[in-house]
Symmetry: C2
Subunit: 440 residues, 2 copies
């Protein structure tokens, strides 16, 4: 078996752009990235529209379409992007995604004859606000980090932290789509029922154990019909791209409500995604071999493929930062709470797609998966405060002397991500941030 | 405290319609009902559009709007109904729902001067096919029958069937919206991972314990903003109406997958709703006092109101019937498996709305709640085969000699519902049906 080559001229590390800010080292948005978002000028009465990031600029795709510079599939793809959201374009499938990426890459490359025309379609990222990049019909949250599952499980079942199904089933559950918002939308601390272990009755009030969860958001492009599963070999063709995702969690509400049907109000008060969807094609250079330890069960056939073995893992570095109100007042930079890598996930994106649809469930363009909290193998790689503070028993101390078990009002949680490896140009995901406001 | 009078002239039991089939005793759709659906002529290239049932006919609301017979709020409401689905109308709120109901009631009443004009807008129900009445943004499944929860719980925990949170929390979980279809859409038996209790490893194959769940579907009309809970006293204003709902369940897949995050693929292969949404206003005569036994915990304040006490329960009779392939071949009528009543629910619709939003979660027009399986206090009132067959241990025998523990291929499950009481005209919900097809 040979590893399929997913790379093409758009990944060429030698490519640079006539948009000079795209060529700065450590730019999140070099010409090899070209992620999609929905944007408008801040505070304007403009309609939200779809754009592609290049350096510190955005190419307004509606304006670009109007210029009529592109042809064939690329121009058809642009036509589908003349909307407030990406769903129509996402539904077109890989052929059109690739055609538009190639056309954009050529048009934005150093020396392009289109530079003068396209310059008129650029909007500075510093001038815009974002909306959700697509309508999310259904959101499913997976639980793919075995390190997170083990760590959380050990707090409840020290002798048997992992449930017997974990190594066989890519565990997931349906999440709430309506409360997913884009980065920057602050939210009020939720209220709800909680019951302290020693209390005889529950009480009602603001959540006392508010947490973040560091997740990867995965967007479905082309869907499938009800009753027609997507095989693991076809799964890649259905995945449009990836973003950052903070699945805020009310741990005390969760503890009281979640038996027997799973988390509900502990999750549905707010979830926040980064504005930019980095496409599957942009991520191709960072795919890696996926392995399953010989001592672990090997996947059932519907979750197994040579392609998934060869390229199923995604080397995507994840980072959580915290900015407290005190730090903001003192103009101190946010501090890092943890880093982890999505390649340590126990299940791959293709396995999530194949599992989700194996019962016949239909996915639709714009549906989102959460990866589940991505904690790495080491304790300092934990993707939630629940883990970092040992369920609140061991407060963490911040550089300015503040301590945290869970989040306090005014805390802003910031997540960042990037992919880098020798021989490829680093690409970034921008960031997702939101601040906890006091409960009413 | 006096019980608020929710009745008006549209509920008058003396009203009859010039559509004569609406006046037949036991018609599901007398003039006091006036439910909404999305329909088109069977097999035609027409677009789906919104209609209101009257007897055996449907009033095509787009055609009615074009006539310009109505005025003010009622005509504005009709304008919002000139779509394939009801979401825009649902979002308008009670004032417009009521205005349209009153105008339709007057226009369809015996002696109306509009009879000749509106006759041109009628389409026979026997000639049409249905689509989902609205786009369901999010679907939440509750678990409001304490009889079902106790019965199911007793199979796993004989000494402690009800979990400690049940009497405090209206338990619910996020469901899959994409796989909800309208009555008549048959579906393939799902495949998935299961593990027999005695097996050391899971296996993959068609579900062996396929079940139905008898539920009430509840549609949100006017939504709420994220962070702005709906109080229990305001809840009624946000509920557009009710339908029948079969939440098909793969019990063996569920048993293996559901820990710790709840049901997932065991539910998302198919869910089926009846085409007609019976409005909250049509249901007003059948609302009843809601009580909580003194020996049980009384609701926390956010789930308590005098209005909910006075009128929170809904006297809605529910019925499940089965038609096997053999019965169909022999032209035998479907047989009843059970009957139960939604008034036996432990939690009310208003409590579901208040609970769902108390954490700030936003509901949107068209969102649907499932009530959870509605089993009554007596064993023969069980709303699933899991209960009727004692988890498969005690097969039930059908009148033609066939037996069932769970569903076999070719089984058609039919659910019906109606409201009736002395002094009011009976209204019905039509039916929801679908047939289990063999797995691929």
């Amino acid at each position: 078996m040979t590893t399929p080559n997913l790379l093409n001229e758009t990944h060429d590390p030698k490519l640079t752009s006539w948009v000079s800010s795209a060529n700065i080292e450590h730019s999140d948005f070099p010409i090899q990235n070209l992620p999609f978002a929905s944007f408008k000028r801040k505070g304007s009465s403009e309609e939200f529209r779809v754009g592609v990031a290049i350096g510190e600029q955005i190419v307004d795709l509606k304006a670009l379409h109007a210029l009529g510079l592109f042809t064939d599939d690329a121009q058809d793809a642009l036509a589908a992007c003349c909307k407030a959201q990406l769903n129509d374009f996402m539904a077109m499938g890989k052929r059109y995604w690739s055609a538009l990426r190639l056309a954009l890459s050529q048009a934005l490359a150093q020396g392009s004859s289109m530079q003068a025309d396209i310059t008129s379609c650029l909007v500075a990222q510093s001038d815009v606000e974002y909306a959700l990049p697509c309508q999310i019909g259904d959101y499913t949250d997976f639980y793919t980090s075995i390190h997170h599952a083990t760590s959380v499980g050990s707090k409840f079942r020290p002798d048997n932290p992992l449930l017997p199904n974990y190594k066989w089933v890519p565990i997931g559950y349906h999440g709430r789509a309506s409360s997913i918002e884009v980065s920057g939308r602050d939210f009020k601390r939720p209220k709800g029922q909680t019951k302290a272990p020693t209390a005889t009755e529950p009480s009602f009030g603001p959540c006392k154990r508010l947490d973040y969860e560091l997740e990867v958001g995965i967007f479905i492009g082309k869907g499938n019909d009800l009753g027609a599963p997507i095989s693991i070999d076809d799964a890649d063709d259905h995945v449009f791209g990836v973003c950052l995702f903070n699945d805020w969690s009310a741990r005390d509400i969760q503890g009281w409500e979640y038996q027997p049907l799973g988390p509900f109000l502990s999750k549905s008060f707010a979830s926040t995604i980064s504005p930019w969807i980095v496409t599957s094609e942009a991520l191709a250079p960072f795919r890696e071999q996926w392995t399953r330890e010989a001592s672990d069960p090997q996947p059932l056939p519907y979750l197994e493929s040579s392609h998934n073995r060869a390229l199923g893992a995604l080397n995507m570095q994840l980072q959580v930062l915290l900015e407290t109100a005190a730090m903001r007042d003192a103009k101190q930079a946010p501090v890092q709470l943890s880093q982890s890598n999505f390649k340590d996930s126990y299940w791959t994106i293709a396995q999530m797609v194949a599992h989700h649809t194996v019962n016949g469930c239909n996915l639709r363009a714009g549906d989102m998966f959460g990866s589940g909290t991505q904690s790495g193998p080491n304790p300092e790689e934990a993707g939630s405060l629940l883990e970092l503070s040992n369920a609140g028993a061991e407060p963490i101390t911040l550089p300015n002397g503040e301590t945290r078990t869970f989040l306090v009002d005014g805390d802003c949680v910031i997540m960042k991500a990037w992919c880098q490896k020798p021989g490829a140009v680093r690409i970034g995901f921008g960031e997702v941030n939101a601040t906890v406001l006091a409960a009413d």
